[in-house]
């Protein structure tokens, strides 16, 4: 009798273990890879696409892309936050980061394009200083959000340069009283299911910088945009539709 009870106990314990495994979420944290890609209205941008007049803006200007560097900050998957990350598309630098120790399950993904004012302190990030991503003190200092350089065919069909540089907007009308406006913006990419070795693509549609809500005319706004208060606000507005969630594997 004792033996039978003992055997039953063992069987019950065993079944209980199986049930436990089937019923519960595995909370073991995992690594998550974020992949930053760029495209032009859905056509992927590769290094072979640089320095060539391959794209046409909403306003009809043919452009070539020569340099594209942009900064994302406070990249958050749930409570896990990467403070900032610079992507250099031309040099394929920073196209991936791995965030470690992310709990499995459903959680949100969001980031800030550029630095919010609180984080945009002049000269404090050694790695960004080392790649000359700074903003001059006369414009309030801090860092670029994006440095996007290229060429366009102007109204005379000549090659002309553009420097679509986004920074914190500054109104210099009164040079003794600079007025700043934080033109960084948060991007929410929704709820994502995190499991082991999840890879998440964060897409930038470059065409959107010239499109929505402000149709960008490069013949009018091409360079010296950093000190242009109104241009900075317009670029910020256009940026809000630039990023989207890509493939999740």
């Amino acid at each position: 009798m004792k033996k039978i009870i003992g055997l039953l106990c063992i069987i019950i314990s065993f079944l209980s273990c199986i049930d436990e495994k089937d019923c519960c979420v595995n909370f073991e944290p995992v690594n998550v890879t974020l992949k930053f890609t760029q495209n032009w209205d859905g056509v992927p941008l590769t290094s072979a696409d640089f320095n060539d007049f391959k794209f046409t803006t909403q306003n009809g200007e043919s452009i070539s892309i020569n340099r594209l560097r942009y900064l994302l900050s406070n990249i958050s998957i749930g409570n896990t936050i990467k403070d900032y990350h610079l992507i250099n598309s031309e040099e394929s630098f920073g196209s991936e980061i791995i965030l470690e120790q992310i709990p499995q399950g459903s959680t949100f993904l969001k980031f800030t394009f550029g630095f919010a004012d609180l984080d945009n302190t002049d000269g404090i990030y050694q790695d960004l200083n080392s790649v000359s991503f700074n903003v001059p003190a006369m414009l309030g200092g801090g860092y670029h959000y994006m440095q996007f350089d290229g060429k366009y065919k102007n109204n005379s069909n000549q090659d002309a340069n553009f420097n679509y540089h986004t920074i914190r907007a500054v109104n210099k009308t009164d040079s003794t009283n600079l007025i700043f406006q934080d033109t960084s913006f948060e991007v929410h990419l929704g709820i994502i299911e995190i499991k082991d070795d999840t890879s998440i693509e964060i897409k930038m549609n470059i065409a959107e910088w010239f499109k929505n809500p402000n149709t960008w005319n490069l013949n009018e706004l091409n360079s010296v945009l950093m000190p242009n208060f109104e241009a900075q606000k317009m670029m910020s507005a256009n940026g809000t539709s630039v990023f989207s969630l890509g493939e999740i594997n």
């Binding site: 020569n66 050694q126 080392s130 000359s132 002309a160 340069n161 010296v224």
Partner: protein, 352 residues
């Protein structure tokens, strides 16, 4: 008897081992004195794990740098074209080699090389790492025109070098790899970080109104817009160490980076040099075409030449450039000269 024999045998082995200096000498780590501004603003300098700086390695590198034994006929050293008094360049448009032939590029100044984070050296970036860079001029027919096998043999037969190599690298097996490692160690100690402008940034001095205005011209996107390629108060290397076509020519005699990468979109691109120590490094540009700073500034102000690969950061190309006023040009020059580091060119550690 057996015991006595073994005793002597092991004693002999032991003394034989200890007599080899290379087995016991440990070089002393070199304390690289990094300027405060660099330490505060920049990431750590590049020191390869397989070539750490040591007192002995740096001293050996310095001796080699100034030694004419490295040239084919022993008439030139590295310092022949890289003179410490000229911020380690010469004042020639093109330098002549041991056979009297002229090169086709201006000798680059040497300082703050450990902060070239991409490690691409020379005007066209053809050399990856300082060690590799040091290999090339020694055998180049229009430069030192030597043969590494012969140099290594000369150094092995030299009265001092074998010991110095043992002390620096633990071996007397001298070859091009160790020679260039030693030279690279010395070159990494060539730090320039004490110009008047550095002192201004540290609060130790003030600028003249002309220098201050010149700095503003440098930093103003609507004026000089120099900072996008040439650093800033936050990047005291004063170069991005990248490659740009800065509008020198509409068509290219020398295609620069394009010859290295094979990519036509790189044609006409050359490294942006640091703007430190310009007082000592004339003439300017990769081909030394400009004799004075005024000519350089005029180029960016009015002289830009359009081409398919001109950098988009070159503003108003179709108008010739950024069109600075006479006063702005003078002030910009005053600022540039405030980056002259007299302590660097007179540093006794860097002289022969």
């Amino acid at each position: 008897m057996k015991n006595t024999f073994f005793f002597f045998f092991f004693f002999f082995l032991l003394t034989n081992c200890t007599s080899k200096e290379e087995d016991i000498y440990t070089p002393i780590p070199y304390n690289l004195e990094i300027p405060t501004l660099f330490a505060n603003k920049l990431i750590a300098p590049v020191i390869p794990a397989n070539n750490p700086l040591t007192e002995e390695g740096v001293a050996l590198g310095k001796k080699l740098f100034f030694d004419k034994i490295l040239s084919g006929d022993e008439t030139q050293s590295c310092a022949s074209c890289h003179n410490p008094q000229k911020a380690f360049t010469d004042n020639q448009q093109f330098s002549d080699g041991i056979d009297g032939f002229l090169g086709t590029r201006n000798a680059m100044p040497l300082f703050n090389l450990a902060w070239n984070f991409d490690e691409r050296f020379a005007w066209d970036g053809k050399e990856f790492s300082l060690e590799n860079q040091a290999l090339e001029p020694i055998t180049n027919p229009v430069e030192m025109h030597a043969n590494w096998t012969i140099i290594a043999e000369k150094l092995r037969q030299h009265s001092e070098y074998p010991t110095l190599f043992i002390q620096a690298f633990g071996t007397s097996k001298i070859d091009s790899t160790l020679v260039t490692k030693a030279i690279a160690q010395f070159e990494r100690t060539l730090i320039s970080g004490n110009s008047k402008f550095d002192q201004y940034l540290k609060g130790e001095t003030i600028l003249t109104p002309e220098e201050e205005n010149g700095f503003n011209v440098f930093m103003d996107e609507a004026k000089g817009d120099c900072f996008h390629c040439h650093g800033s108060n936050n990047n005291p290397i004063w170069s991005d160490n990248k490659f740009h076509n800065n509008g020198l020519d509409a068509t290219f005699v020398d295609i620069g980076l394009g010859a290295v990468t094979g990519d036509p979109s790189d044609n006409g691109k050359f490294k942006s040099p640091s703007i430190r120590n310009l007082a000592f490094t004339a003439p300017y540009m990769h081909d030394g075409r400009f004799a004075t700073l005024e000519e350089v500034i005029n180029h960016y102000s009015e002289g830009l030449q359009p081409s398919s690969t001109i950098d988009p950061l070159m503003k108003k190309v179709n108008q010739g450039g950024v069109d600075l006023s006479t006063q702005e040009k003078a002030d910009l020059k005053a600022f540039l000269l405030s980056l002259s580091d007299f302590d660097f060119i007179n540093n006794q550690n860097f002289q022969k």
